[in-house]
């Protein structure tokens, strides 16, 4: 709540104090005409002026309180309002603040020798300046028999002769920044004996930001709208209610050139009653590990199928590796990947989807993958089945949102709303920062995080990635004193259009701005496509500038 403790003298408008002083002097003079309250008198200085300051303080406090209770004022300046009061105000509209959650994942502890290794519960892992903790002590054990409880983790041998076991960790704070990607290097305190490396075994899951007052204001405006499949505001309200951490939503419908599904008739005319809902459910896609039974086809070639429930709406298959291989580089050679659609009816109805251009990145998408495993055991017969791990990039919870569109009680009787993950434009940025010699080198982690946060929040808003935004975000994370971002910077992005995924990507390269092309017939436009810029795809180098002594 707002209290006088939140207001300092510097917050009080001098004009407000002057008005209060004038008012008090006149008021007291009327009541006590024999006392001199004019300017310069002791009573004025010691009594009236002090009282005026306190009156100004109280008025400022009260004004802040009143502002905090007004949705109109909160909307004008969400940062000035008190969080607790904003929560109370918007509770009247049935809107609750989303508190965010902490990222969780497994860290691979890589050892030189097969030795029992303990990880105390006081261990703190750090990557990119962010801290992760274990929730209980763990111990890496050398035999499967020793694994009795969840505390014991089996140490396994890696192909390169080293050993590895995994430790579950949880982020110390909430937010997207804590979602480490596979391969992220960690350090630990205290140092774990015998460890030669610490890496994220897979992309961390969870880790969403808490809603700010500005987020809450925006969502409330949607929240006032009925949460039904109807107009864009209503659908947005429905999705935000069902999935509070939804970051961006773009709705393509009747009359939009990107809407292809309502032209499935012999005249290829738009008939309406269809909408494609492109969602961004996380700042950047995460990598999921899916274990699949694969069939041997001969000549060291194997085949596996990614079904529609394995990673709904997935983007790319990054790697295929033998099952339980924890830390690796590259993966097996993928010979082919054929995307398809599985339109098996789940309820009493299924969406009208014709071909990949209409259905890629929806929960109906599937893939058949053929890959070569040169380590296939001799004598393996054609048709043999072995498990492999597929590392797949995808947005979380596409199916959660999809399910809203097929439930009979929820879906519109005369409409067909298809949820699709936003068409991805995977971006990469490299820049150089120059700083004065003999001063502290800039914090590259902070710069990377600032750039990633700025770009990943763009969503569908501008359809381009301007260099100026990257520079602005970087400069905002830098100390003053002449430290600057050297221009031009290197930027490129790869778009995977729905009709040709995973091959046939569109590459954007430019030093000034990357612009999403307007190719609605291929499902690519500002309305469908977002830039993803994970921290791992930002290269920042820092160099001292050459200066003369002065």
């Amino acid at each position: 709540m707002v209290t006088t403790g939140d207001v300092s003298f510097s917050d009080i408008d001098p004009e407000l104090v002057a008005q209060a002083e004038e008012y008090l002097a006149n008021f007291l003079s009327e009541q006590f005409p024999s006392r001199d309250f004019s300017e310069g008198r002791v009573i004025r200085e010691l009594v009236v002026n002090m009282a005026a300051l306190l009156t100004g303080l109280n008025r400022t406090d009260i004004q802040q309180l009143l502002d905090s209770f007004s949705p109109l004022i909160i909307a004008q300046d969400p940062t000035a309002a008190d969080d607790d009061i904003v929560d109370a105000v918007y509770a009247n509209y049935g809107v609750e603040r989303y508190d965010g959650n902490k990222a969780t994942g497994n860290i691979a502890v890589i050892l030189n020798d097969l030795l029992t290794t303990s990880v105390p519960d006081t261990t703190v892992f750090t990557a990119n300046g962010l801290r992760y903790v274990v929730t209980q002590p763990y111990i890496g054990v050398t035999t499967a028999d020793a694994v009795v409880t969840s505390s014991e983790r089996l140490i396994e041998q890696r192909p390169d002769g080293t050993y590895v076991f995994t430790v579950p960790v949880v982020a110390e704070g909430v937010g997207e920044a804590y979602r480490a990607v596979r391969g992220t290097r960690f350090s630990s305190a205290p140092v774990i004996a015998g460890v030669i490396d610490l890496e994220a075994a897979a992309d961390f899951e969870g880790g969403t930001d808490a809603e700010t007052n500005a987020d809450l204001v925006e969502r409330t405006q949607q929240g006032i709208a009925p949460r039904v499949f109807s107009g864009r505001a209503q659908v947005a309200a429905l999705f935000q209610e069902q999935y509070p951490s939804l970051i961006n939503l773009s709705q393509v419908g009747f009359g939009d050139p990107e809407m292809l599904r309502d032209r499935d008739n012999i005249f290829e005319m738009s008939t309406g009653s269809r909408a494609d809902l492109y969602v961004q459910t996380a700042d950047t896609p995460e990598e999921a590990v899916v274990v699949k039974d694969c069939t041997y086809l001969g000549n060291n070639v194997w085949q596996g199928t990614i079904n529609r429930d394995d990673a709904p709406g997935f983007y790319l298959i990054n790697a295929v590796v033998p099952h339980s291989l924890i830390v690796f580089a590259g993966g097996l050679q993928i010979n082919s990947e054929a995307r398809g659609l599985d339109l098996t009816m789940e309820t009493d109805w299924v969406h009208n989807v014709d071909g990949l251009v209409q259905g890629a990145y929806s929960r109906y998408q599937t893939a058949v993958v053929q890959f070569t495993d040169p380590e296939t055991a001799a004598g393996t017969v054609v048709g043999a089945v072995v498990q492999y791990d597929f590392y797949i990039t995808r947005l979380p919870d596409v199916k959660t949102l999809h399910d809203l569109t097929i439930a009979r009680t929820r879906r519109p009787q005369n409409g067909d709303y298809l949820v699709r993950a936003a068409v991805p434009a995977f971006a990469h940025v490299a820049l150089e920062i120059k700083y004065r010699p003999n001063t502290m080198a800039p914090d590259t982690d902070a710069v990377k995080q600032a750039i990633a946060s700025r770009i990943n929040a763009l969503g569908f808003t501008i359809g381009r990635l301007p260099m100026a935004l990257v520079i602005d975000a970087a400069q905002g994370a830098l100390e003053g004193g002449g430290t600057y971002t050297f221009t031009p910077i290197n930027m490129y992005a790869e778009i995977y259009p729905p009709d040709t995924v995973p091959s046939g990507k569109i590459t954007l390269i430019d030093v000034n701005e990357l612009v999403i092309p307007d190719l609605p017939a291929r499902g690519v436009s500002q309305r469908t496509t977002v830039f993803y810029l994970p921290v791992s795809e930002i290269n920042v180098i820092v160099n001292p500038m050459s200066l003369l002594a002065i």
Binding site: F9, P14, V17, A18, P33, S34, R35, D36, S38, E39, G40, R41, V42, I43, E45, L46, L53
Partner: protein, 158 residues
């Protein structure tokens, strides 16, 4: 000047200089007094003038023009020799005079014996060996009443 006057129909201010007597030299101290003394007339003018003269200009919250430059001049070493004293006094006294005139204009009801006419540096003594400056100031109202104040000021020079 009498130490007390007829207060009928007058507005009063708190007396913050204690020890004021009707005549003669007396040690004056700042304070509210045991019973909370009040004053009016020339005494009100004198204490207002002194309060402004001894306040560093720019140190009052939201009132940057109130005060004078005299004590900052003392602390910053601008008074090194005797000849510096009247110059710095004149500058500071002009600032105080301007402020009090503005106050009087804004108030519009002050009687003549509560309005400043002049503040004159009658005498001064810069005792370098004691790091001490003594000012003798005569404060006069438009009505003609006056008070003489001796103002001791420690200075950082020898």
């Amino acid at each position: 000047m009498p130490a007390s006057i007829d207060y009928t129909g007058r507005s009063v201010d708190l007396l913050i200089f204690q020890g004021v007597e009707e005549s003669g030299n007396h040690r004056i101290e700042t304070g509210f007094g045991d019973a909370g003394f009040v004053c009016t007339g020339i005494q009100k003018v004198a204490q207002s003038w002194l309060a402004l003269f001894m306040t560093d200009a720019g140190t009052m919250l939201n009132k940057p023009t109130r005060g004078s430059s005299f004590l900052p001049a003392v602390r910053s070493g601008r008074i090194r020799v005797s000849e510096d004293v009247p110059a710095e006094f004149a500058l500071a006294a002009a600032q105080v005079r301007r402020t009090m005139e503005l106050d009087a204009v804004e108030d519009g009801t002050l009687p003549d014996d509560e309005r400043l006419d002049s503040a004159v540096l009658v005498d001064y003594d810069l005792a370098r060996e004691l790091s001490h400056l003594r000012l003798k100031i005569r404060i006069t109202s438009i009505a003609g009443d006056s008070r003489v104040v001796y103002l001791p000021v420690p200075i950082p020079i020898r």
